[in-house]
């Protein structure tokens, strides 16, 4: 065994999923977006608060066309992350605003409510 076991649900930290949309002058690369957000979080919140915010970018559900994506964070740091994200002014070389569309408790509801990605199993319902 080279990795610790997964914690039981009661011991796992609670998380929230922030669904955002990038409004920009031109198209924005995902790598530039993540580095701009990380820079903003580190500048505005500092390393200590950034560590307790437990920020994680969920790459595989980023919609490049609509420029919508999801950031995972700790449930008690949503407002901190929201304000740090609102400080982003430029991504790459394009002026932009990151607008937060909503906050959910699961990835499934984030997809269903804000990203218009429904599960095909429930398509008939």
């Amino acid at each position: 065994m080279d990795a610790p076991k997964i914690l039981p649900p009661s011991l796992r930290s609670q998380k929230r999923y922030i669904v955002f949309e990038v409004i920009s002058e031109g198209p924005v690369a995902y790598a530039d977006l993540t580095s701009a957000v990380w820079n903003s979080v580190l500048f505005f919140l500092g390393e200590l608060d950034a560590s307790s915010a437990k920020i994680w970018f969920i790459h595989n559900i980023y919609d490049e066309k609509a420029q919508r994506g999801v950031i995972k964070c700790a449930h008690d740091s949503v407002e901190h992350v929201r304000s740090a994200i609102s400080m982003v002014q430029v991504i790459g070389e394009a002026k932009c605003i990151i607008k937060i569309i909503g906050v959910t408790g699961t990835i499934k509801s984030a997809k269903a409510k804000y990203l218009a990605q429904s599960d095909l199993k429930n398509f008939a319902d």
């Binding site: 929201r82 304000s83 609102s86 400080m87 002014q89 002026k95 932009c96 605003i97 937060i100």
Partner: protein, 230 residues
């Protein structure tokens, strides 16, 4: 929730974009209304735009307290929202003591202290003058400067909570890229020390109630001591 941003600069004042561009962008950000700023005495008639509430905000930039009072009397007849360019302690205090004023903008601007004391904030509560948290001031400052500004704002917000004075959060945007949605503006107020519920009110019902009250006054429904009910 109806979110308002009471200080937005268009090409009519010192902004880059036209009123239409700002209004279009504000709609996209989910704002219910924006206050387009014009500087006293150049008060401009602002065109109404479908789908968004355009509010005429007038900014006073007085040199001293007596100048403020005379400007406020003249501007009040036309303005839906009366803002005061703060920063000077004498002006900050006079603005808090004047019931004609709606919002005292950035009282800590260009100062090493917070620009307000308990006497000012008590008066702001009595006269219902809102103290502004300016998003642009935070966003455009950097490193040590930003730290000083944030600590001054925290001090002002703490005083406002203690004496129950109203607080409003505005973007102060000079370009359309400087605007933010109402919920994001209120998250700044939350980080400065307000409860989440009260922080949301700083961009929703506090500005909205002020606008309704002033529109009633301008239309002649409210005079001093009298309100006509329909």
């Amino acid at each position: 929730m109806m979110y308002y941003d009471l200080e937005v600069h268009s090409s009519l004042s010192m902004g880059e974009n036209t009123v239409e561009e700002m209004a279009h962008f504000a709609k996209r950000l989910g704002l219910f209304g924006i206050g387009i700023v014009s500087y006293f005495p150049d008060i401009v008639e602002i065109p109404k735009i479908d789908g968004i509430d355009i509010v005429s905000s007038v900014m006073l930039k007085p040199d001293n307290a007596s100048d403020l009072n005379s400007q406020a009397k003249k501007a009040r007849r036309k303005a839906e929202i009366l803002l005061v360019h703060g920063g000077d302690y004498e002006v900050n205090r006079a603005a808090c003591e004047n019931p004609l004023i709606d919002v005292l903008c950035h009282p800590e601007l260009g100062r090493k202290d917070s620009g307000l004391d308990h006497i000012c904030v008590k008066s702001a509560h009595e006269n219902q003058v809102a103290i502004q948290v300016s998003f642009r001031e935070i966003m455009e400052s950097y490193k040590r400067n930003r730290v000083f500004i944030l600590s001054s704002m925290k001090k002002n917000v703490k005083l406002c909570q203690k004496y129950d004075a109203p607080v409003v959060t505005c973007s102060g945007a000079v370009t359309k890229w400087g605007m933010r949605s109402g919920r994001e503006l209120s998250s700044i107020a939350y980080l400065l020390g307000l409860d989440l519920g009260k922080a949301i009110l700083t961009t929703s019902s506090i500005p909205q109630n002020t606008i309704i009250k002033n529109r009633d006054r301008l239309s002649g429904r409210i005079w001093e001591g009298v309100e006509i009910e329909q």
